[in-house]
Subunit: 187 residues, 2 copies
């Protein structure tokens, strides 16, 4: 390795920042915004703006013949329609396994025989504490979707191989969808 | 496909939501928070809370002998240290290619002969307009890092195969890092 030596900056491996003052700028329906006063590892004062979020679940549901339902919704922050795997926020006190079964029925009308973990990830470590837990659902039965009347979405089944290509080509742009599909192909 | 038919809910494929009133709740250093009044496709009024963000760039730098530098930082929102590929926010008016070269030097002390796109993705479509553009850097020369004095980070070089395993095992949890590594292995 020679020329690419591992290095540490500013004197150590513990870079913990401590909270001097916790300040809620905004408490909303799906997120809270904090702007905390903090102390850097060198003792200097600084600020950290970030989102508090309850976390979410998302599910790659694969039919026996290798098709996967994606949901298409209008995403207001982007001003665009986006294809995604079924997903949702955790309700307060809800466990992730129940949340995934609820979202699978509500959005895709599917019941699953088996639901297994595909791990978890942090979409935006810089300014949100959101964690998204990913699941793989198999043994699917269609029981009828129960969309919320103010939820506007479209569902389409794609061959899983086609989705892998769409992740690579950039047609699929949503983090949870890309990560779930790549993880599936690396199981 | 039969029982898993494609379906549309609430009458159509254009689910565009229109802005009735744009409301900035907070204008910060790295993000703005909006809580807009909007009109749903069915004409009903609703609200959308989301983050405005300038967008970011991130780079998977691969040495000739197959090592990749990761940066470890304390991420205040998570209260934890996280391993990530070098990344940064776009400066105002900066183009992504310049931003990636700047971050590569600042964080890892590296110059690259070639920088190519690995595509872009949206980390959190539900509540942020952030886009992250991913790049692959090759032909690396070490020129000396220039860390900001208030930036606390550690760099370590990992064999790229080991990183793939760490994405699958859940040791790597950051979205941009996971997506860049999987895309590299599917090039």
């Amino acid at each position: 390795m020679g020329k690419y030596e591992d290095r540490e900056f500013n004197g150590g491996k513990d870079f913990t920042e401590t909270t001097t003052e916790c300040d809620y700028v905004y408490k909303g329906r799906i997120l809270h915004l904090r702007n905390d006063l903090i102390k850097l590892p060198n003792g200097k004062a600084s600020q950290r703006e970030f989102i508090e979020h309850r976390g979410g679940v998302a599910v790659l549901a694969v039919t026996d013949d290798g098709f996967v339902p994606l949901v298409r919704q209008f995403r207001y922050p982007l001003g665009a329609h986006v294809w995604e795997i079924p997903a949702g926020k955790l309700e307060i006190g809800e466990n992730p396994d129940d949340a995934i079964r609820r979202e699978l029925v509500e959005e895709a009308g599917l019941k699953a025989e088996s639901i297994t973990s595909l791990g978890a990830f942090y979409p935006t470590v810089g300014y949100s504490n959101e964690i998204i837990r990913l699941y793989l659902a198999k043994g699917l039965t269609y029981v009828g979707a129960k969309p919320d009347e103010d939820e506007f979405l479209e569902i389409k089944y794609f061959p899983i191989d086609e989705l892998r290509k769409k992740c690579l080509s950039g047609e699929i742009t949503d983090s949870k969808t890309i990560i779930a599909i790549f993880k599936y192909f690396n199981l």
